[in-house]
Structure formats: C-alpha cells, structure tokens
Point group: C2
Chain length 414, copies 2
C-alpha cells in the first residue's frame, strides 16, 4: 500500500469510531483543540514564519501573502471558530419521519456521518482547522490536502489537532494531513474509492474542473461563481447602484462577488453613470457591450469570454438587455449556478426571477455577497456547493451527513 492508501485505511478505521461517538465527547475534543491552539500559538507562528519566508522569496504577491500569514490574533480567531462549532447543534443521530407502517414495522431515517471526507484546498492555513472541526463535529474523519505554500503551517495545526484528539480519547487519525503536496497526491486521493466517501475540492476553477472530471470517488463541486446583478427597469436606481457596488467591490476575490451587471435598456442611460460613479471610487474596470459603450464611452469593449469570466478582481462585465426574458436567458447561458440577484420593484418580475433562475442562491433586492453559511443560519461552512446533487449552497454540518433507515420489527416477513 502507498502512504496515502495507508492514510485512507487509518482514516476509515477512525471514522468507524467517530460514527458512534456522542456529542459530548466530540465537543470535548473540539475544546481540547481550541485550548491547544491557544497554548501553542508560538509554535504555530514559527511554522508559519517558514511558509511566509519561502513565499516572500518566491515573490508571492501581497494579497496572497496576506491570506497565508498567521498572527496571534488570527490564531485566537481560529480557536474562537472551533469553539463556535461546539455551540452548533450536532446533526448526527436525529431521526426523521419515524412512523409505524401498516405492517407494524417502526421505520425512521437517521442522520449518520458520511465517513471519510477528503478535502483539497489552497493557500489559507485557517481552512485546515475550520475543515477539521466541521468534519469532527459531524462525526466524519478528514484527510486534508492543503497547498504547498502553507505546508508548515498546516502541519503544525494538524499535529496539534491530532495530539488534542488523543488526549480527548478519540482516534488521532480522525484528522490527517497529506504531506505530499505534488499533483500526484491529488490524483491518488481522487481514486481512493475504498476509503474516501466524499472529496471536496476548493480552489481555482482549474483544480475543481480537473477533480470533477477525473475523480472516481464522489465529489462535491464548490465555489466557481460567475454571479450577476440584474437591475430591472422598475428598480430603485440608488438601491441598484449600492448593490452592484457592494457585490463587486466589497471583496472581489470571493466566489459570491458579482462579475456581470445586467441592466434594462429603459433605464440604462440613467443607471449606468450612477453605478459607474460608485465603482470608480474603487477603480473598477468596466467591460461593456456595444450599448453600454454608447452610454459609457470610457468602458472597455467586452468580449464573449468576459461574460463567462470569474474575474475575482476589480473588473465588471456590463450588458444592456431588453427586459426580464433576455436577462434570464443570459444568466442561464453564462451563469455558474452560484448566486444571482435582481433589483426590481415589480412584484411579478421578482417572483419570476426567483422561480426561473437555476442557481444555489437567488436574491431579490440584495447583494449576492450574502451567500455564506453564517448568514444563512447554518453556522460555519466547508464551501459553497454549485452542484445540484446532495448539497447546494453553503455546506454546513448538516450537508456533511448521510442517513440510514432504522427499522424495528417483531418478526415481520414479506
């Protein structure tokens, strides 16, 4: 067996123990993890310093360096996050629709863990702890495969978590890190059908497409967001401008940020300059269709690709449309099924937009930036699923479970 197969086997064994571990014991282990992170802040900072040094040497750009860097305050916030997960309700063990059938069998559907979750992610080391804590609380073992830039930080976190699990009397293999950070380890994880019940890739579109297309283990697709704000002709224009400004510029690097503005022809001449004035304060580049360019001559001409793009930057594609039908058709064609919003004061248009748009989250008169486990009331999340199977939208604890039917009989045969 390869090292990763052995790791898979160990995780599977740990998952069988976790599946029958009660809430109190899981919470005690989470408390132990939070305590250990606080007590070993210096050790974590030293490991992170190695990653930061290497990243600076390799010329990593400032925004990524910021995502990689840990501070005492950030480590404390990570520990706080673990403690928040303690307060969330345990999804495991709940029995739904338990009822006695005509033949006397008492049948219900019980929530159970998935088993072993493999999680592939990129630079941010805090994700290591968030993911492990969510998996632990939901009774799953986790195999972490972080990016090489954060390797030392991830290893420090993982070692502390494994030790904390041991002191709490749970199997340390409930959390493990893949130390091979080459492409090969991603390939091996994707095919580990005997041990991995679910693989979640989080990162760039390239990684996600590669995994979705090639994995033999079950996968949940996360995160690619080509989100639209459609300003319908009856919209409050001031509200529309605030919403597109927020959705585009409050945090352009995240998947729920807007990438395209659609605006009705009837109001385009009035609305676009209003929106531009706000977007200009953040130096946002506008890439417009031909009609947009007539109204905003400074904008860059948009290409077909611009309407498919997830810029993750201060760039916004802009298109003038003839009304709701054209907006819906545009979103159906170019959207990634993440988050879509209409700004309108027309009741029928709002209802039709909610009904017709096929996406994880559909908004009326609000920014797409709200697509998030915390905002939606799920607590922390492991990513935003953009697929339709199993989980769609933010993946909180509940989305990390499966179920089994339990049946109490008294000798029934068929």
């Amino acid at each position: 067996m390869t090292p990763i197969e052995l790791q898979g086997q160990a995780a599977k064994a740990a998952a069988r123990v976790l599946a029958v571990t009660g809430t109190a014991a899981k919470n005690a282990a989470l408390a132990e993890i939070a305590k250990s992170l606080r007590e070993n802040t210096d050790k974590i900072l030293a490991a992170n310093a190695l990653d930061m040094g290497a990243a600076r040497e390799s010329g990593m750009r400032e925004s990524l360096l910021d995502r990689l860097e840990l501070t005492a305050a950030r480590i404390a916030a990570i520990a706080d996050g673990v403690e928040e997960i303690i307060t969330l309700p345990d999804p495991i063990g709940k029995v739904e629709n338990m009822s006695t059938r005509p033949n006397g069998l008492l049948i219900g559907r019980k929530k159970v863990p998935l088993g072993v979750i493999a999680f592939i992610y990129e630079a941010r080391p805090n994700v290591t702890v968030d993911a492990a804590a969510l998996c632990l609380k939901s009774g799953n073992a986790v195999i972490l495969r972080g990016g090489k830039e954060a390797f030392n930080s991830n290893l420090a976190f993982t070692e502390l978590m494994r030790a904390a699990l041991s002191s709490a009397g749970l199997p340390e293999n409930a959390v493990s890190l893949i130390t091979d950070t080459t492409r090969e380890s991603v390939g091996e994880l994707m095919n580990l059908v005997s041990y991995v019940d679910l693989l979640i890739p989080r990162g760039g579109a390239g990684l996600i497409n590669h995994v979705v297309t090639n994995a033999k283990v079950p996968v949940i697709q996360t995160g690619v967001g080509n989100c639209h704000i459609y300003v319908e002709k009856t919209a409050d224009l001031e509200m529309g401008a605030e919403i597109i400004f927020n959705a585009k510029t409050s945090r352009p690097s995240v998947c729920n940020a807007a990438e395209t503005l659609l605006v009705d022809r009837d109001i385009a001449a009035k609305f676009l300059p209003l929106a531009k004035a706000k977007l200009d304060t953040k130096n946002t580049e506008l890439r417009g269709c031909a009609e947009t360019l007539k109204i905003l001559p400074d904008a860059t001409p948009a290409t077909e690709e611009d309407f498919y793009a997830e810029f993750l930057d201060y760039i916004l594609a802009v298109k003038v449309v003839g009304g709701l039908d054209e907006a819906l058709a545009h979103i159906a064609k170019y959207g990634s099924g993440h988050s879509e919003a209409i700004v309108t004061n027309d009741y029928a248009a709002s209802q039709r937009f909610l009904e017709d748009v096929d996406a994880a989250a559909v908004y009326v008169n609000a920014s797409t930036r709200f697509t998030d486990g915390g905002v939606f009331g799920l607590g922390a999340e492991l990513g935003i699923s953009t697929q339709k199977l199993h989980a769609r939208g933010p993946m909180g604890l509940e989305q990390l479970t499966s179920s089994k039917y339990i049946i109490y009989g008294s000798g029934q045969v068929r």
Copy 2:
C-alpha cells in the same frame, strides 16, 4: 452534434419548462399517459411480441422471459402505477426553514427538480413507464436507455408517453428513449456533462461498477445487495428461521434478498437444522463455513468469494460467529451497504446493531425484503441507492430533487 447530444440538448430545454410547470399540469399529463397506455394496449402487446419472439429465438431463460413479457393485465397494472404517482404529493416548490435573518433578509430553501435524469436499465419494460412517471412528477426530464431485449416494448411505451405529453401541452422531449442499445450509448451518456444532471444505472454489478468508475456526470449507485441475516444467541429461533427463509426465498432475484446467514455459535447446533428444514422446501443450496459443515454435513464448503457474492438465486452462504462483534466485523467487511438484519431478543444487541451497521437499511427482527419505497412510505421508487451521497435507500420523488435558496431583501448590502 451526435444524436445523443441532440437528445440531451432537447431534454435540457424540456427540463427548463418542466421546472416551472405546476402540479396540476404534471398530474394531467400523467393521467393522459395512463389513459393512452390503456387505450393502446394492443399496440404495446404487438411490440412486446416482437421482443418475446427474438428473446425465445436467442434462447433466453424462462425467468428472464417472464420479466420481459407484457400482458393486458400487466399493462393495466403499469397504468395503475402511473395513476398512483398522481396521488403522491408533489415534492417541488416546498420551502424549508424560511426565516428572517438578523439583517432582515427572508431566506428559505426551496425544493427544485434536478433537471435532466438519465436512466440506464435492463430487461423489464415496465421500468420505462415507472421511471418516466416518477421523473415527470418530480419536474425532471428523463433520458431512458433500456436493454436491447426490451427495445420494441420500450419504444412503444415511449412513443405513447411522448404523444400524451404533447396532448397535455407539455414538451414531448421531457421523455425520450435512446435507440442505440449498444455499449457505446452508455459510454456517451456517462460523459454528457453539458446536459445530464444525474445518471442512475440499474442492473447487474458489472454495469453499475463500470458506470460509477467511469462516468463524468454525477451518478447514483443502486442496487447491489449482499444482505445478511444475523441470528443472535438470544433470538427466538422460530422467528429467525422464518426470517431467513423469507429473506432468502421469497424472491431471490432482487437486491434486498439475503445472501448470507450469520449465526451465533451458542445456538448454531439448534438453529441451523431448523433453518435448513425450511430452506430445503425451496431446494436452497447452503454454502457453509467449517463449523457449519460440522452441523450440516450436506452443505457445500463456502469459499471466501461466496461471502462477497450476490447470488440472486437459491444459494445461501452460512457462517457461525462468536457473537455480535464478529458479526458486525463480518458485515463491515463483506456487506454492500444495502440491507442488514439482526434477529435478537437482547435489547443492547439490537441497539448496537442499529447503531454500528453502516447500510441503507438496518433491521431488528424483520426480513430485509422490506427495503422498498412503497413499504417505507415513499410511494414508487427508481431504485435503491447504496451510496451515501444525496440519497440512501429507496429513491422516491423526494430523492429526485435538488434545492435552491431564495432570498427576499429590501436593499441589503454586506
């Protein structure tokens, strides 16, 4: 585009219409389908006669011929089945957990169709109608790919259903049949990522493994059942014998039939002859472990493969175990995660079996043969999922849905 790609594209377009079609219109189309099947019984019988003739010529064995054959009574029963689906509640449009968040956003999770479901199945032509009716009621378009043995019957059913959809004012492409019954069409369907939201293979283990391992579209694995009956030492022996007799012999060809009997050492000498007496009435071959052979010298020695096998026949593997732990370990190693049962009168053993066994359905004191959508109160079903993601156990209407968050705002930004 290939014919199958064109079919996928047409199904996708139909799915967008179905997604916003109300319950009354879907039920009217189902009623139209049932009516058409009754009115065109002769046409269906003529098509089925072609299939039966070819099957007899090719030397198909009697039990398979019986599965392929349609009669007026069977067609009436199929039409009844469609009418039963009319009476089931529509899963689409239900909104769960709708609540106002602290920022004033009103957020809920709405049930929506998956989109396009591709369904690969084997000889029984009634499945063509069952599957189409379930998909239609749950707002999904379906692409059917049945076995070549039932081709003429499937085509007749599909043509009638498409015409019925048209007369009911719904897109006929909501139901379509792949007319290429070679292996190539399975391969093409598995990779139709632009159009297929879910692929469900139903059939032998070979087909299912091939699809699960190679598909690029999302798949739900169905049906392989290596089910165990474990007779624990405190069991009512008469009840145990009735249950294993029923689970093995009431219908050996189905996935919820038992394949292995586990029995505690303390009661084996008493229980095994009792069970054998019943199983002998159906000429069931017993393949036993060494200890079994000491008690039942006529049994065949079991090989390691026998304990992994899904016999789907009057053959039963038998193993004597040292107690609950050994039984649980055996099931964890050899089971397929379908249906598992304990026969016991020990409270703690029953609870531990329900807790520890990782399968779609876990029974105390009842036959595994009850794993079925109808028995479980889901109505009709499209198969039994043995995977943990999305749906586990019988797949009824609810399991053919996805969800989306709908959010009503009043200008919120983040």
